[in-house]
């Protein structure tokens, strides 16, 4: 009877949570789709990417403008809610978390051997019993420190660190279609190890939210849109709650008093509530009201409470499980990384062809999240994420490939700049655009070899190519580097090419016209 009631409650929570998760994932996918040209205006296609407080902090660091502060209002709103409801975003909304849950559910039960929390928790609880605060290094705080530290130094690591960026980029890759390798790696980790391993131990966005949630941990559940609330009188101390917690939170078990859970990592996913066999001991509440199954509340019996023991561990719990020393140490670690990585970045940041309005290379690398929103928005599909050909720093940054398609900045109202959730791409007047400059390879050009062609001149929207007889001549001051000429040059490889500004533009003397990177 009681078990049936518990199952009913568990089912209610599961259906509610899965519906919210799938709905949000669908919304995320829709917005990712809607970034394609013309990008959606209301709600802006990049709205969900601006939910990312880390991206907001990064943008503030790189731009120092109040406009950015205002643009990232979803992130600040999320942080505000996080103060009230801890990491509910991770449990109920995060699209990456939803994928992890899906992977976890798809794993055959026979292979599920991931509740290492159980044994690990034993030692932690033993420590608590001795009155010592549990010591547990949480890698995510270290990663957060490193990510923020490098962010201050102008090195962007969000392309690995932000779940929203990872998801958005992966959607782009899936649509290409290409394999989103990094997402696949994370999903594999979730499958092999634990579904929420990333969220619990690695995710710096989660770490930031954990930290922020501490600010509101003493607020009553009455102010919280979503929280897990414990009634210690009904608790039977069975431990089902933390055995079933994906994040290994022992708080409901060791907590003595009733009220809202304060653990910084609690995602209010309700797994503990679903698992709790004692009626009324754990509830998901919203502003003080129960979220589910009032019938269950009515059936609430307190008989189990009688067996409850009053002896509980009293030591501190639910806060940060990282010490000051560890935090400072990780900052130092970040500084060392920063020195190495930052110096390396400056060494390697030669110019790359990018969209109009991309700031100078090092500023661009600092600002760009590699979310691939711009590549989706481009009506000409002329920008694509880079691979590792220019090193790790430029991985997944958008590169302009004029041979694939020329840039139509004068016709698309800079769709890439409009959808960029951060400040990587500046809005420019069309007359100010200068992406690169076109140079003719006189050895391979049909016109320079005396044959009628002049396709480049025909295609140039800026009248930057003049015909000298049959020979095309580029007028440097008129050329915007839009690449229409390179796109349509009938020779293979193209005999006219856009070179990066500031790079020595010379064709190789062997007239091969092959891919040449950089000048002298």
């Amino acid at each position: 009877m009681k078990e049936r009631a518990r199952r009913r409650k568990a089912r209610g929570i599961r259906i509610a949570r899965r519906s919210v998760q799938i709905a949000f994932l669908a919304f995320f996918v829709v917005l990712a789709f809607k970034a394609s040209y013309p990008p959606l205006q209301t709600p802006p296609a990049n709205a969900l990417l601006r939910l990312d407080p880390l991206a907001g902090i990064y943008s503030l660091i790189s731009s120092r403008s109040t406009e950015v502060l205002a643009a990232f209002w979803p992130a600040w709103a999320l942080l505000g809610l996080t103060m009230l409801s801890s990491r509910f975003f991770c449990g109920w909304l995060c699209p990456l978390g939803t994928c992890f849950d899906a992977v976890g559910a798809l794993k055959p039960r026979a292979l599920k051997y991931y509740r290492p929390h159980g044994r690990y928790m034993k030692s932690l609880l033993a420590q608590e019993e001795k009155g010592a605060a549990p010591r547990r290094i949480r890698l995510k705080y270290l990663i957060l420190a490193v990510v923020l530290g490098l962010g201050l130094a102008g090195v962007n690591l969000l392309y690995f660190a932000s779940p929203l960026v990872v998801m958005n980029r992966s959607i782009y890759y899936v649509l290409l279609p290409q394999v989103p390798l990094f997402l696949l790696l994370l999903l594999l980790l979730a499958f092999v190890y634990r579904p929420r391993f990333w969220c619990e131990e690695l995710c710096p966005m989660g770490a930031l939210m954990s930290l922020v949630s501490l600010a509101g941990k003493r607020l009553s559940a009455r102010f919280s849109p979503l929280s897990v609330v414990k009634d210690s009188d009904a608790c039977i101390d069975c431990g089902a709650c933390y055995k079933n917690c994906d994040f290994g939170i022992a708080e409901p078990y060791v907590k003595r008093d009733s009220g809202k859970l304060r653990s910084a990592d609690c995602t209010a996913c309700g797994d503990c509530v679903s698992a709790c066999p004692a009626s009324g001991a754990l509830e998901l509440e919203s502003f003080g009201g129960k979220l589910h199954s009032s019938r269950w509340a009515r059936e609430k019996t307190r008989e189990a409470a009688a067996t409850s023991s009053s002896a509980r561990a009293e030591s501190g719990h639910g806060g940060l499980t990282v010490t000051r020393r560890e935090f400072v140490g990780s900052l130092g670690f970040g500084a060392v990384l920063l020195a190495g990585y930052g110096v390396g970045l400056r060494e390697l940041s030669g110019p790359v062809l990018r969209m109009p309005g991309a700031q100078n290379e090092s500023e661009f690398l600092a600002a760009c999240n590699r979310c691939c929103e711009c590549t989706r928005a481009c009506p000409a599909h002329c920008i694509k994420p880079m691979g590792l050909e220019d090193g790790f720093q430029k991985l997944w940054t958008p590169r302009f490939y004029p041979r694939t398609a020329g840039c139509v900045f004068d016709q698309c109202d800079q769709a890439c700049a409009r959808v960029c959730p951060v400040t990587a791409i500046e809005r420019l007047k069309p007359e100010d655009v200068k992406i690169g400059h076109a140079v003719v390879n006189k050895q391979t050009c049909l016109g320079w070899r005396g044959r009628p062609c002049l396709v480049c001149m025909e295609r140039c929207r800026f009248n930057a190519i003049k015909a000298d007889g049959l020979r095309p001549v580029v007028l440097g001051e008129k050329c915007t580097g839009c690449g229409a000429c390179e796109e349509t040059c009938p020779t293979d490889p193209a005999s006219i090419r856009i070179f990066e500004l500031g790079k020595t533009s010379s064709w190789p003397s062997d007239a091969g016209g092959g891919r040449r990177r950089g000048g002298i």
Binding site: R18, I22, L25, A26, V29, V30, A32, F33, K34, S36, P38, A102, A105, L106, P108, R109, A110, K112, Y113, R115, G118, R119, M121, K122, L125, A126, E129, I171, D237, G239, K243, S309, A311, R312, A313, P379, A405, G406, V408, D410, Q411, L446, G447, P452, C453, L454, V455, M457, E458, R459, C460, R461, N463, A467, A484, E487, T488, C489, P490, T491
Partner: protein
């Protein structure tokens, strides 16, 4: 405290036992069920996204009735000219005069025919720049086709500078065609995916290329070019205009350009050529900007070579200065000496 904390609940044996129990068929079934829910949910999410993402897009590719184009020249009604040159300052009016002098559009278009009109609409500058066919000329041709009973009049070109929508809006042809009851079919010049690989039996330089299918399927094909200077071909006229029905342009430029133009005209033979020489571009063609001259002329002919040949005179040139016209004559496409034709000046 031991009684509160129950280490037994985490024993290895328990975990093993649990694993075994969970591996039972029942669990497997539950797994499948769960997998189904999740897969369904994810597919739903993706599908919603796909729906939303694709909703706004429209492609203007239409299926066209598949018939062989009529290659036999239309018999001239008695008294009708084979080459008509109309002069005047209203491009629309003189277009009608010129075609009427040939015996009217009914000579070329029969009721129920599907007509493809191929103007020069690749550039977005308006008629004063002399880079695209005058919208009044195109509109008048479309109107005459409709009057002759054409079931559909498709005006198609591919755009060389920027997006087709912007292009057809800028040169005014889009609005003129829609106003006259025609359809606009605008391709992006950079896009070669729409063409159909077609062999050119009479081809000398170009044996095979990719052609937009609408042209191949049309009952009647009318070329409505702008007479203008062209950097590589010398002049851009009626024959040259059919480069615009080829989707992979590099195949044309990589072969002998002039011969390739003639070759394409053996594949796509226009039933009627209406050359817009109202404002002609004298230099820096085909895209301009360049010097223009108000020639105030429209040339219409059932013979594409003769029409081109006559148009050369407006530039102070002769057909021998434009190799593709000579090669077209050699390929039997028409008469290069327009004086041999029955000519009418109106």
């Amino acid at each position: 405290m031991k009684d509160v904390y129950k280490p037994d609940s985490f024993s290895e044996q328990e975990i093993e036992a649990a694993c075994k129990a969970l591996a039972s068929t029942l669990e497997r079934r539950e797994f499948l069920k769960k997998a189904g829910y999740w897969a369904g949910g994810l597919v739903l999410a993706g599908g919603l996204g796909a729906l939303a993402g694709c909703g706004g897009k429209t492609t203007i590719k239409e299926t066209v009735k598949s018939t062989t184009p009529s290659t036999a020249p239309a018999p001239a009604p008695s008294g009708a000219a084979d080459l008509a040159v109309a002069a005047g300052q209203s491009p629309g009016e003189i277009t009608r005069k010129a075609v009427d002098a040939l015996g009217g559009m009914g000579r070329f278009v029969k009721p129920g025919n599907v007509v493809v009109v191929k103007p020069n609409a690749s550039f977005m500058a308006g008629p004063e720049a002399g880079t695209s066919t005058h919208p009044e000329v195109v509109g008048q041709v479309v109107k005459m086709c409709r009057e002759a009973g054409a079931s559909r009049v498709i005006v198609m070109d591919h755009c060389l500078r920027g997006s087709p929508e912007v292009c057809f809006a800028g040169n005014g042809i889009g609005a003129a065609v829609r106003g006259a009851g025609g359809e606009v079919l605008a391709y992006n010049g950079g896009d070669s995916g729409h063409g159909v690989d077609t062999a050119i039996p009479g081809g000398i330089a170009l044996k095979q290329t990719s052609v937009y299918p609408e042209v191949l399927n049309a009952d009647v094909v009318i070329t409505v070019p702008k007479a203008k200077h062209h950097g590589s071909a010398g002049l851009s006229l009626g024959m040259k205009n059919f480069i615009g029905v080829v989707s992979n342009m590099s195949s044309v430029h990589n072969s002998d350009l002039h011969q390739a133009i003639a070759d394409i005209n053996t594949l796509v033979k226009p039933n009627l050529s209406v050359i817009d020489a109202s404002i002609i571009l004298l230099d820096n063609g085909p895209g301009g900007p360049g010097p223009t001259r108000n020639a105030g002329t429209v040339i219409a002919s059932s013979d594409v070579v003769a029409a081109d040949s006559y148009a050369c005179t407006l530039f102070g040139m002769t057909a021998s200065d434009v190799p593709y016209i000579v090669k077209g004559n050699r390929a039997g496409l028409g008469e290069v000496d327009y004086n041999k034709l029955h000519m009418a000046r109106v």
